[in-house]
Symmetry: C2
Subunit: 424 residues, 2 copies
Amino acid sequence: MTTAPNRPHHVVIVGAGFGGLEAAFGLAGAPVKITLVDRRNHHLFQPLLYQVATASLATSEIAWPIRYLLRDRPDVTTLFANVSGIDAAAKRVLVDDGDALPYDTLVLATGARHAYFGHDEWEPFAPGLKTLEDATTLRRRILVAFERAERETDPARRAALLTFVIIGAGPTGVELAGTIADLAKDTLPKDFRNIDTSKARVVLIEAGPRVLAGFPDDLSAYAQKSLEGLGVEVVLGKPVTECSIDGVVYGGNRLEARTIIWAAGVRASRAAEWLGAPADRAYRVQVNPDLTVPGHPDIFAVGDTATISDTSGNPVPGIAPAAKQQGRYVAALIKARLNGGTLPPFRYKHAGSLAQIGKRKAVIDFGWLKLRGTIAWWIWGIAHIYFLIGLRHRLSVAMSWLWIHARNQRAARLITQGSSKVTG
Amino acid sequence: MTTAPNRPHHVVIVGAGFGGLEAAFGLAGAPVKITLVDRRNHHLFQPLLYQVATASLATSEIAWPIRYLLRDRPDVTTLFANVSGIDAAAKRVLVDDGDALPYDTLVLATGARHAYFGHDEWEPFAPGLKTLEDATTLRRRILVAFERAERETDPARRAALLTFVIIGAGPTGVELAGTIADLAKDTLPKDFRNIDTSKARVVLIEAGPRVLAGFPDDLSAYAQKSLEGLGVEVVLGKPVTECSIDGVVYGGNRLEARTIIWAAGVRASRAAEWLGAPADRAYRVQVNPDLTVPGHPDIFAVGDTATISDTSGNPVPGIAPAAKQQGRYVAALIKARLNGGTLPPFRYKHAGSLAQIGKRKAVIDFGWLKLRGTIAWWIWGIAHIYFLIGLRHRLSVAMSWLWIHARNQRAARLITQGSSKVTG
């Protein structure tokens, strides 16, 4: 392990998501200097992002200033900047304003964006959900659709405004569909005069044969039944072949809808491209068993930026606990290397899979135990509150959920960003 | 009072701020049909807007969906639309999509925007504070200034980034200056590595001879001393003669500053122009003693849209309690007219003036009692929590304030809107 002479070993971490932040936390006390670079000033709790999109939570309830999280770590410098590339030969991270940041060890934790698999032209009609801005944009689209329906007199146009299509029935798609159904059926009905919001159609379209494909068959079946109980129309085995301003086409059927949400796939950030590293079709770096990038023993990739298999040969899932485990592993390996040692390969431990279905149910697969219904919902809720950082956020989210359950009141029903334009 | 035959008397209220909302509340039970039009979907608690701009409160803590506030009032239809004019001859409100809304009685409560008194070209450099978007834009500018200073190596440019100028020392200017000083001196210092945020300059510039001109002399003097105690530089008697990307010029002095905030004046919305009504220099309609627009007995103007004198000949101030009293009066007068009666002229009752100075002090002028310091701050805080609508918002704001006081932690330090561009 090389370090330039006369200065401490410099670890640069790009991205302050779950993986990058955990790597910084794990390096506490190590004889290193750390620079954490992110193009946003906040760490985002992505598992609850769909609740911002559906007006259940406020943006500040699931985001923390990165600097604040590391205020007691003088060894960490946080840099609010956009990385534009890596000069691996010179061991420098290139920043968009022309700066170059020398590193001894580099950790790439740059995450993923949603991907349209060759149909990028669908993005304006079917936005995805990865950032706070994505969430407030979706929230605006959903709320504006109801507002415009209230003023629309043409029955066909009104029906299209009250049709919400979610493409992709993984956890995000299922959670969005359930929560939009709750919003339309529980929260909004008394607020409108000309439309019956409870008649809004929520259509969940999945190309594969079942919802929540990562879960056991019986939990998938339960999730589907529960969604249908909430009024969600579940369409399986039909890939979407067209998205436009008018709606979607799937399996030869045309559905008029003014709100379409993309939850069907992601692609990693440009880290593999920066390095010319081997990548899978979602552009994730195919990392070595110790999470280094092939050919670059001093560069690690973690979380959604990387792909690796677990001990049974299945790919490690792109979820927060996996990214955190990888961040912790990388921190431990850097510390071991500085002492002249090494570590056995990374091993992923799957704690469980969770998904919320509407506001009172969930499914949980712990492997050794499968749970569903209200009990699963309680565990889901407590687990998510536990994983939030700090008492302030925990109290705030708990209070927001209490109000949703007790009063059907969603505090964050704000149309912002371009709200002066009514047509949204 | 005329009503078209065969349908209930139709009251159209334009604007769901304090005045418009109070008029709608006051008409409960009256034999009327009400349409409340706003181009935003939320009612905003403007007295605390500066706390959103300074990352102390989240947007959803001071805003409520208008529909939600009127969900139990089937007599009220809320319309999310932009009013473009009034056809007083045909008694119709014109909406931007070409719709026209017939009214029997019209209440104009369209509020005000900040005004630059002939220097509209200053707006890009010195934004004001009237909407949630204004507040998140200001929040972004303030937080990005610190971020850019952290990366800036040129001393002069860094100093300009760490200089915050507030123009206008009324309550909003005083509150902004004190809170930015707190932010720089209490909340941020431990978060940065290259800059000492506590050395940031906060400069409050006022053309008049004292801060808080609407308050008694001794409270003005106390407010100035308190601000100076927080490190705010107070400049009096010097009008600003130039705002640009580089800073401001006042009284012949040039001050390099990258963040300038305009708190020096407002102008009313275009209501007077729509009607060709007599207006003052801030475009407020000079209403009759019963708040009707001269020449239009069936059109009322209230709040920041109107100007009227109190019993001592002083203009009624443009504050929330005044707008609410006017909204209530108009509702009562409409009800009286429907019964064939009328009411004596509107009389403004001034309950008091309040301003917060930094996070632990305030000044209050009740007329019969003047308060300052910590005791005034407690009354200020309790009064503001009391005036928020609903337990949910009260608890949430109380909790945010508790965290600011106990932990110097401001929950809403989020750079959003264009956050991918670091240069903000």
